[in-house]
Symmetry: C2
Subunit: 128 residues, 2 copies
DNA sequence: CCATATCACTTGCAGATTGCAAGCATCAAG
DNA sequence: CTTGATGCTTGCAATCTGCAAGTGATATGG
């Protein structure tokens, strides 16, 4: 039986054994959680991520999708071969980031005037 | 006379009106939340932040402390004049980041093998 | 005194990362 | 045959990071 993600180990991949620091080593940058947010908003395709209001640069998007897949947080599924076209889905490991995003959403709502709540937050479709 | 936090406004300071994206515009990098974590762990002085196991570069630390203060998340308090020596404290706005750190800690605990939970998590000392 | 040390930074600079723009492969439509 | 869309990759300038060294200001040991 195939495991979802071979999790990296210390001390190679992480700065310290602190859980917070280690999470930041995986998703602690300007763009990664934006992509994860989009997945929670029901987006699955490259073009949908690109169309988000933050305008992620295309090379950054491609690289982050690879890293998220390598980290076992998302799964890439081809829905046609020629030309190759894929959709991206959260794994259960990736979907477990939900509480982090919710906490950020709450903080933003309470402490940044002018932010707008997205209406559509469906429970994410998960693929292992 | 300086107010605690004149919150910045759209569209200058933020990529979009999404609360998650806006939070990431403030704390979405490799180091900022490490400093905030240290404040939650009861650290208050420059040397204490530097001594953390992640070994933050000193110029980065100085810059992040300035940014956190500018964002109204921490308060700098001098406890002597010559030479000038200060301690840093979370504001209530900064302390409200607690749920985000807790969610990260939980995710790390569940999904990254080998991370170690810090024992000492006191309710933070808040200064406005 | 004077040398050495410490603390909280600042400065210089090489190297890594980011982001804009353009290119590329594949197929579809007109 | 030309134009367009999609999902990327590549080139490169500008920005950011991080290591090392420097800078006051004071304290300490000999």
């Amino acid at each position: 039986m195939k495991k979802t993600a071979p999790p990296p180990s210390f001390p190679d991949s992480y700065r310290s054994t602190c859980p917070v620091a280690s999470v930041l080593d995986i998703v602690g940058d300007k763009w990664t959680l934006i992509v994860v947010r989009d997945l929670f908003l029901g987006k699955h395709r490259y073009g949908e991520f690109q169309a988000s209001p933050e305008s992620i640069p295309t090379n950054i998007l491609a690289e982050r999708l690879k890293r998220l897949e390598a980290a076992g947080l998302i799964k890439k599924e081809f829905y046609q071969d020629n030309p190759p076209r894929a959709e991206y889905f959260l794994t259960s490991r990736g979907a477990a980031l939900g509480p982090i995003l919710r906490a950020m959403r709450e903080w933003g709502k309470e402490h940044i005037p002018g932010v707008v709540f997205p209406e559509k937050i469906a429970p994410p479709e998960i693929r292992e």
